[in-house]
Point group: C2
Chain length 266, copies 2
């Protein structure tokens, strides 16, 4: 039976709301995801929320109904609440129909099995949650195994990152590691490390990429540090035909990743 | 001589701050752009701000000094202000060193000269300012002539769109039009209209693209309306290797645009 909560002062609502902050997510090991599309993606990947918040009007949607029922069947709690509370949880004026709370994943590098995919995305010191989520979404589209976050990246479990991932956070493996840990792990097995850099001489369409290919993208402002590019097997650049010589980091990753998978499917 | 303003209640500061709202931008015909990189890009493209706001610490940066001087030389007003006011203007806790105010551009389709570039980007009912700015930035990178906005798109002069464009709003032509206006204009000259759609059968690497190529991307959620795709010369899809069958709109545009320019440069 769904629990009914209409007061914003309710402790469960306050607790859920607190997961919008990174330090609370870390302390609780939980994160928020919103929207029928993302929660459905999660379900299809075998991830059920511990709590699902919905309002009366959202419950009329058949997919919401199914999600609510499936959550309860899996031992989660359904919380029938108000649109106002959904707005508070989602931080958007026009809230999604449902908000779910999920346990965070184990993001240790040791969990990554590189043999499961031909391409992996690697991001270093990424600052923008939208870029991080977009990379996860692109990773899903190109059939990547997952996203490996190097050094101090923005939190992949932030509401903004989850939203931009459009659910790919549930379908892509996710790992965090220092550069040193990553290099040791990478060189302990097969893998070609391909960095993108505006200073590279090699056009990204020139080389033959090898499986598994690790596509490495640097920080939005600074790009990759010099000693990181030196550790790459290949350093390539996308041709720049304009005045500014720059691409958004998530865009550069996608253009690069599609080149790699286009080669692989030929 | 720079004007000194330290009070947030100053009418010029209030007026500048008001340009963060679309209706004020339209009424005043002015918009805000922030940061040394974006203002330098503007200058290199021949766009000087009417006002440049800076703080004492930013003025120590040689590039900021040069921008302030060039603005005054061009008849604009330099405003020496506080970090607090810069924060208010930029809406970010960690404000950029400089904020400029520029006159909006004429975005009528008649101003577009299609013969100036081999590729043009076209977006329909785009909702996200970050996507719009990212498309401008990608347009610059691929050497596109500009971005044509169809139907009810988010404002290209919003602070978020300008920021995401990284200055490409000053290097790319920008036009707004209804679908009907656009089609009449397009068919009055040469041009191949290429739509992207998840429902398309044709792989985006199959066709031969023709100059000038107009790459059309639809709304983030709904994609292109059916009658819009029917009007395209080609309807193509990027291969989807994952579970979610989706790409961010700005990412899809970039992957498509790079395929087109890669063909052209072969």
């Amino acid at each position: 039976m769904p629990r009914e909560i209409s007061a914003y002062s309710n402790p469960l609502v306050k607790w859920a709301r607190s997961l919008r902050d990174k330090k609370n997510r870390r302390a609780e090991g939980r994160f928020l995801a919103e929207g029928l599309r993302i929660l459905s993606e999660a379900q299809q990947s075998g991830h059920m929320p511990e709590y699902i918040f919905y309002a009366d009007d959202s419950a009329r949607h058949p997919r919401a109904q199914a999600l609510i029922q499936a959550t309860e069947n899996a031992g989660g709690m359904a919380v029938n609440t108000t649109r106002q509370i959904l707005t508070k949880l989602s931080g958007k004026d026009n809230p999604q129909a449902v908000v779910g709370i999920y346990p965070e994943f184990d993001t240790s590098l040791a969990k990554i099995d590189r043999s499961t995919a031909d391409i992996w995305l690697v991001a270093q010191a990424l600052r923008d949650p939208g870029n991080l989520g977009t990379m996860l979404r692109t990773g899903d589209a190109v059939g990547a195994g997952g996203l490996i976050l190097i050094d101090d990246c923005v939190d992949p479990f932030s509401v903004e990152a989850i939203r931009a991932s459009m659910g790919a956070v549930f379908t892509q493996a996710l790992a965090t590691a220092s550069w040193g840990e990553f290099l040791v792990w990478l060189r302990a097995g097969e893998g070609q490390l391909v960095g993108t850099s505006l200073d590279a001489e090699l056009d990204y369409q020139e080389p033959d990429y090898a499986r598994p290919c690790f596509v490495l993208t640097g920080n939005e402002s600074a790009g990759l540090p010099a000693d990181y590019t030196e550790a790459c097997d290949l350093l390539v650049k996308m041709p720049m035909h304009g005045k500014a010589d720059s691409l958004n980091a998530a865009v550069a990753t996608a253009v690069m990743a599609y080149e790699v998978v286009n080669q692989f499917r030929r």
